[in-house]
Amino acid sequence: MSETEMVMEAGDAPVVYASPPEEALADLKERFPDIRDDDRPDYSGVIVEADQLLAVAMALREELGFNYLSSVTGVDLIKDNKLEVVYHVYSIEKGGGPVVLKVQIDRDNPVVPSLTPYWPGADFQEREIWDLFGIKFDGHPDLRRILMWEEFQGFPMRKDWREAFYEEDNKPFGSRWPGGDVIRAEELNRYGKNVTYPDGWIPTGEEYEVETDMYGEVAVQRDETPGLKTDKVTVNMGPQHPSTHGVFRMVVTLDGETIVALKPVMGYLHRNHEKIGERNTFIQNIPYTDRLDYLSSMSNNHGYVLAVEKLLDIEPPERAEWIRILMVELTRIVNHAWALGFLLNDIGALQTPMLYLYIERELILDFFEAAAGSRMMCNYMRFGGLAFDLPERVREQPTMAYLNELVYERLPTAMAEFERLITGNEIAKARMQGVGYLSAEDAIAYSAAGPLLRASGVAYDVRRAQPYSYYDQLDFNVAVRYNGDIYDRYLVRVDEIYESIKIIKQVLPHLEATEGQPIMTGKPQYAVRVNGGEVYSRVENPKGELGYYVTAQRRASNPDRYHIRAPSFINLTAMEKMSIGHKVADLVAILGSIDIVLGEVDR
């Protein structure tokens, strides 16, 4: 595949790829007669024996062109006494849907070969599955817990593991429904707080060492190479650090000022989204998705409602689709404004560019507030439509006039001014160009997504590769840059803001044309019951590919498994690769260029 074929030039008409996974699956089955279809009703993909996984995965990657391991998910099939690992593999070049591989193993001795040595993008995801499900990945170079701490008891995502405040398997809880009584969980707990200890566990004092261990990595190492002896120093950054974009921690080993090793440490904001999500009813999860990537709540909503709509087999009416696209693209602008502001903050352009961009961000947030009732946590989309139609007025102005002014005047002017200040700026270029390089091959191997992937010259955008909603009817370019450094990631985000403005300009006439039409299919429901089965739905979030893997039984009102493929989390896998060899001062800039949000990294 040559580079020119991979890249869509500006001005290309929207391209819809054919859907190639069926052919690949048929081919795979021919080569490996042992793999069988997943024949549970409404499930897809194939089940592979654990000992064949590596061979199948390699054939898929090397010979069939499915080179992008997007998501690795653990599932607890407690009824069959099995654990399952689900792999979603896409083809960057061919686009279209995934090939889904599944490995089922015994619950009592769960071991699966690790794909990390071949697909480094699996690294953190496998560690997460080890952490939460206790599945061992044979051959993983560094299989430690990732979200919880090492001493933590149990594998919390297993269905039979219960948290301290456990009440019932599924909501609504009997204590709240239908009587509406409230119990305070603290009062029922022996310790008056959200903790529980193994029966008969006596603190010995050893556990106090944990703190020491945490900082034990802050150590001085002697260089073993012959010749001039220099000391390497390990520096701990975070979880409380002004530039780590939240409670993120990095343990960096330095030789002088040069980074020689880097280990991200996360979990400081692990708030058990998935465990809570599996107790919740479907609709209760919508506000939780707001709090994943809390800068882009609208697009998180979008991915989730698309997934559940597939389970429900419904589609929203036309007006709702257009409003969704409007909201999602505005969210992209909001997110990129934030990301660019913070990136510049990190390279030393303290505050000023950030505050410039916030002015426009606030305008959009005001619109969100008028539409959804909240600035940040919009909770706006519903299965089959939207919670509300567009408001009549925003800031005393009729909505359409407000939006028109926003996209035709305010945003282009603000961006032009911002670009005039920054894009050609010598200092900004000196700090950003050539720093944090990630090649196209590496970006794919590390499962990078979003601007991080596209700045490395890979023209892959879910809106184009596997269009959802009405994106196939819209004319926009996939922003691609080729140098793979911080500057190009900056440029990709700037380009995407322009493309979003372009999309919104196309959406506005549709909004006027559909004025007064319904925004919901059917009537709004609180207790939806789904058809059951499995669904994986992904959207192009501002930070990259956001995927929701949801399974449910027939007529169920709660998901069995609810997993999120979080772009910020997986993009961090490439952090070490990008940082090695650079100065420690570039580290914050590289982190800023990935654009992470801890709510999504740790979930």
Binding site: L147, M148, W149, E151, F152, Q153, P156, E163, A164, F165, Y166, A185, E186, R190, Y191, G192, K193, N194, V195, Y197, P198, D199, G200, W201, I202, P203, E207, Y208, V210, E211, P239, Q240, P242, G246, V247, G267, Y268, L269, H270, R271, N272, H273, K275, I276, R279, P287, Y288, R291, Y294, L295, M354, L355, Y358, I359, E362, R375, M376, M377, L598, G599
Partner: protein, 220 residues
């Protein structure tokens, strides 16, 4: 402002020479000093740059130009606890994070205040039932002001900060814990540790007693 009855009347301590007796006017000294002291402190509350979760985003918005915390003398966000007066606990407190938060709190010099921002910091919020979530920072730290909301809007946060200023106005040099002779000011909070679950070391005795109950029940 009320004078504290526990303060000895100054007149009784100080011998005033007869020739100046009619020319000096001595009153309760805290009445004189408190307003000055409180006025300067309330208008220079320096928060720590300390964001935990979604609420932190609204905190940053509050500090930026549209809402402009500078009007209250609070725009000087410090990146180190050693220079801060106020810890805004802005977001979900997780078990993995709480030892760090307590350590930061202990590093802040007095006078120090804690503002709990948002449902999560107040009581666990939407994530309360989670296995890695602390159900409210007040399980560990003394909280001065609670701001409800998920997230609280910038206006709400500003309201919380004004409430803190009102609280500062009510304080008296004579009664604030950090100037008491006997005692070491506000307490240093013991740092919780991460065992099989979060261990609040103030509860060690309780944990041991519970463990004993279980072992005894098993033996019986």
């Amino acid at each position: 402002m009320t004078a504290d009855a526990s303060i000895p009347a100054l007149e009784s301590d100080i011998a005033i020479p007869d020739d100046v007796k009619d020319n000096v006017f001595i009153t309760n000294i805290s009445k004189l000093l408190d307003p000055v002291y409180n006025w300067s402190r309330r208008n220079s509350v320096w928060p720590m740059v300390f964001g935990l979760a979604c609420c932190a985003i609204e905190m940053i918005c509050t500090a930026s130009s549209r809402y402009d915390l500078a009007r209250f003398g609070m725009e000087v966000f410090r990146a180190t606890p050693r220079q801060s007066d106020l810890m805004i606990v802005s977001g979900t407190v997780t078990k993995k994070m709480v030892p760090t938060i307590i350590r930061l709190y202990n590093q802040m010099p007095e006078p120090r205040y804690v503002l709990s921002m948002g449902a999560c910091a107040n009581g666990g919020g939407p994530f309360k039932e989670g296995y890695n979530v602390v159900d409210g920072i007040d399980k560990f730290l003394p909280v001065d002001v609670y701001v409800p909301g998920c997230p609280p809007t910038p206006q709400a946060l500003i309201h919380g900060l004004i409430s803190l200023q009102e609280k500062i106005d009510q304080q008296s040099l004579a009664t604030v814990p950090w100037y008491r002779k006997n005692g070491i000011g506000t307490e240093i909070v013991p740092i919780p540790v991460l065992g099989p679950d979060l261990v609040d070391i103030r509860q060690l005795d309780l944990i041991r007693a519970e463990a004993k109950k279980v072992t005894e029940a098993e033996a019986a």
